[in-house]
């Protein structure tokens, strides 16, 4: 048992963080708000150079062959920067879905081509899971992965109808998608399709949870700075217990959420069929910490925190959006209930990391 990350994993994260700190300034995020695309294409190229397109693609398909545990820290770094572009979803949700399709020998002639485009950074793809009423950045996706019952369809954006919706978070670009499913566009169905959609939901919820961790950290960073700089009653406001405890409460939650999210990443990577409860726990806990951070940070900033000018809103509005995406608190709590209250639920210490296999000598999380 070892909960730590390797030096390679950490230094990769640190390099990405350093790049994002320099490139994703709040001025540049705000300038995206005034554009239709909402994206910075030059930045997307820089992120692509980190290997986001190929990271979670197996070596057999010309990828880097890393897994969700390797990626979770990068997703966290993107959240900490409040990065608007949907690169985490692309790498962590879309790409593994296409890989799964190919792994199962499913798909049509387009799947390999689309995956190659993702790896090369020349194609962008978005996924529409029915749990989300809208797809973020559907307009800039060349291809969309769409659901029709248990069926999975891959369809070019030009053959769909998109209806734009404004998000409470001005960094997001939402659209609802309608399309005509046909046998030409279908790449999976039946039990295989249902399994793919379930795994997609888990990866999506995990992607949200990891970004929420980073967003929470980003909020703490700003609050520490503000409570040091802002003076009232002749001293920094942060000396007051009533103020500093607002952040201490967030810090406690954040640290307790980290291992939950990391464990969910591990389970989703190693034993995806059994990841439901681990992912749901991660999403519930990460969203709860982030919502507290959003609330307490506005409070800590006083009236400034309530203004459009204050950059804090970039983070808190993302928290509000991601807390609901890929299943809200109620949805994930219900998945936890179902699992916990099963007659044969295995809850002892030997099952901390999942079912101790009886037929298998290897403990598979």
């Amino acid at each position: 048992m070892d909960f730590t990350f390797s030096d390679d994993q950490l230094s990769f994260r640190d390099a990405l963080h350093a790049m994002l700190v320099g490139e994703v300034t709040t001025d540049r995020i705000r300038s995206r708000w005034d554009t239709d695309s909402g994206t910075d294409e030059a930045l997307l190229q820089q992120i692509q150079a980190f290997g986001f397109g190929s990271m979670l693609v197996p070596e057999s398909l010309d990828g880097l062959g890393l897994d969700l545990v390797d990626f979770v820290l990068l997703a966290e770094a993107c959240g900490r920067a409040a990065l608007p572009e949907p690169v985490v979803e692309s790498a962590m949700v879309v790409t593994p879905l296409l890989v799964d399709v190919l792994d199962r020998g499913l798909g049509n002639g387009f799947v390999q081509e689309v995956l190659d485009g993702l790896i090369a950074g020349t194609t962008s793809v978005a996924v529409a899971h029915p749990i989300n009423p809208c797809v973020n950045f559907a307009h800039r996706a060349d291809w969309l992965l769409l659901e029709h019952g248990d069926e999975l369809h891959l369809i070019h954006r030009d053959s769909t109808t998109l209806k734009s919706h404004k998000s409470v978070d001005p960094s997001r670009r939402l659209a609802s998608v309608t399309f005509d499913p046909s046998s030409d566009t279908q790449i999976a169905n039946g039990e295989a399709g249902a399994k793919l959609w379930r795994a997609t939901l888990n990866r999506g919820a995990l992607a949200s949870a990891a970004q929420l961790l980073g967003l929470t950290q980003g909020i703490i960073d700003q609050c520490i700075q503000y409570s040091t700089d802002r003076h009232q009653f002749g001293r920094a406001i942060g000396v007051n217990q009533a103020v500093k405890h607002l952040m201490a409460d967030v810090a406690v939650q954040l640290e307790y959420v980290k291992p939950v999210v990391y464990r969910a990443a591990y389970t989703a990577a190693v034993s995806p069929d059994r990841a439901d409860f681990a992912v749901s726990h991660a999403k519930i806990a990460a969203a709860r910490a982030a919502m507290l951070a959003a609330r307490n940070s506005i409070q800590l900033h006083g009236a400034m925190g309530y203004t459009w000018e204050c950059d804090l809103q970039i983070w808190v509005k993302r928290c509000w959006a991601l807390a609901r995406e890929w299943g809200d608190d109620g949805f994930h709590k219900n998945r936890m209930h179902e699992w916990l209250l099963r007659p044969n639920a295995l809850l002892g210490p030997e099952f901390t990391f999942g079912r101790r296999s009886i037929t298998d000598s290897v403990d598979v999380a």
């Binding site: 749990i131 989300n132 009423p133 809208c134 919706h165 404004k166 998000s167 409470v168 978070d169 001005p170 997001r172 939402l174 003076h231 009232q232 009653f233 002749g234 001293r235 406001i237 000396v239 007051n240 009533a242 103020v243 607002l246 919502m291 609330r295 506005i298 409070q299 006083g302 009236a303 925190g305 309530y306 203004t307 459009w308 000018e309 204050c310 809103q313 808190v316 509005k317 509000w320 959006a321 609901r324 995406e325 809200d328 608190d329 109620g330 709590k333």
Partner: protein, 399 residues
């Protein structure tokens, strides 16, 4: 203890309700339910006209003495008026700062000349007021104001320079009351004066502040050698803090009952949506709706208890000190409940560029509730230090 309204009170209630239903029609039909907290930027011209309609009906400043145009209404009647006003969907009052803060302050501390000059304009709904208290470096630490007032002997006028911030309705107001430093040698609450200043003059500049809702309800106000006459200071130079604090004490809580009617309307709307979108089936949501209802009932009972026995100008008891913390926390939870009832739709705006739905607006605005008028942290200090008499938090040296 007798927990009922008298027959005379019920008659008054009917009178108020009848008048409102007869008058919130025609040109005023559109303002029903509008212009409240989070919506104050809407229908401003209509709401200004509405103030005058109210005044013509004798429904402004009803708690004032009859000598100044009021009805000398009892606390119960003021409560009833506010409740019926909110129930009828009466629009957010653009005149409320003048009526509930400036007027009572003039009545208590003002000279006869000041009363004659300013009270009729407030009473008639003609003059709108705003409040110049907070500054960039004087928020929670209000006594740290830096705005200066210097008396200019040759012109016999006060010259005011400095900056105020978070000034609600400044862009619509005719006058502002300002606390400013009359004695630059003094720090903190000493050496302040309380001034009445006309907004329409070259030395006053208003700049709106956009909130995270995308709307602008409050402002920065810059004073650059703004002037007021020698008669426009309440009390003497140095009395400013006493007057400023006295003013805050006049908000005796009668408007809180109207506020609670608005809360009830919001809760009703949330329950309606929960029933229609199925979230009312969720046991966790059902529990929270029940808790919201329980909390609101307790709030109403405590407000009525708080107002009982305040028959004269005596200041409120310590139970009044808990009110801000209680309602702001309750309302904040209501905002979160609203979002959870909406589910995934909570993220979607009605329209661009940033048009919020009513419940989204509620959710975002409740973030401010726990900040303005004394943050929850400051409220807890007040409760601990003033209501309970616990030792005071040490303060630094003003800089």
């Amino acid at each position: 203890m007798h927990l009922r309204f008298t027959a005379a009170d019920e008659e008054f209630r009917a009178q108020v309700a009848d008048w409102l239903s007869e008058n919130l029609v025609g040109e005023f039909a559109a303002v029903r339910g509008r212009g409240g907290p989070g919506d104050e930027h809407c229908f401003v011209e209509e709401r200004k006209a509405w103030e005058q309609r109210l005044a013509e009906g004798g429904w402004t400043c009803i708690g004032w003495p009859e000598a100044w145009g009021g009805r000398n209404a009892s606390i119960e009647q003021q409560v009833i008026f506010n409740e019926e006003y909110a129930r009828a969907g009466g629009p957010g009052r653009v005149g409320h700062i003048g009526e509930t803060l400036m007027g009572p302050t003039l009545l208590a501390f003002g000279s006869d000349a000041q009363k004659k000059r300013y009270l009729p304009g407030i009473k008639s709904g003609r003059d709108l007021w705003c409040q110049g208290y907070s500054e960039p470096s004087a928020g929670s630490d209000l006594a740290n104001v830096r705005t200066r007032a210097i008396f200019d002997e040759p012109s016999q006028r006060w010259r005011i320079s400095g900056q105020k911030v978070w000034t609600s309705l400044a862009h619509e107001s005719d006058y502002v009351f300002v606390i400013a430093r009359t004695d630059p040698q003094q720090k903190s609450h000493k050496g302040l004066g309380f001034f009445l200043i006309a907004m329409d003059q070259p030395g006053v500049t208003v700049r709106p502040i956009t909130q995270l809702t995308g709307t602008a309800e409050f402002n920065e106000v810059f004073f650059d050698d703004a002037v007021c006459s020698a008669e426009d200071i309440i009390g003497e130079p140095g009395d400013g803090w006493k007057v400023a604090m006295g003013l805050l004490g006049f908000e005796r809580g009668v408007s809180t009952l109207g506020q609670q009617m608005l809360f009830q309307t919001e809760l009703d709307e949330i329950i309606r949506i929960a029933k229609s979108n199925g979230s009312a089936q969720d046991p966790a949501i059902r529990q929270r709706i029940a808790e919201a209802h329980i909390g609101l009932r307790a709030m109403r009972f405590n407000s009525l208890r708080m107002l009982s026995g305040v028959a004269d100008d005596a200041s409120l008891g310590r139970e009044a000190m808990i009110y801000k913390l209680y309602w702001s926390s309750w309302h904040r939870n209501l905002g979160k409940l609203a979002m959870d009832v909406l589910g995934p739709d909570a993220e979607l705006l009605l329209d661009g560029p940033y048009e919020l739905g009513r419940l989204q607006s509620l959710f975002l605005f409740t973030r401010a509730d726990t900040i303005y008028g004394g943050t929850n942290q400051i409220q807890r200090n007040i409760i601990a230090e003033r209501a309970l008499g616990m030792p005071k938090e040490p303060r630094g040296t003003a800089t």
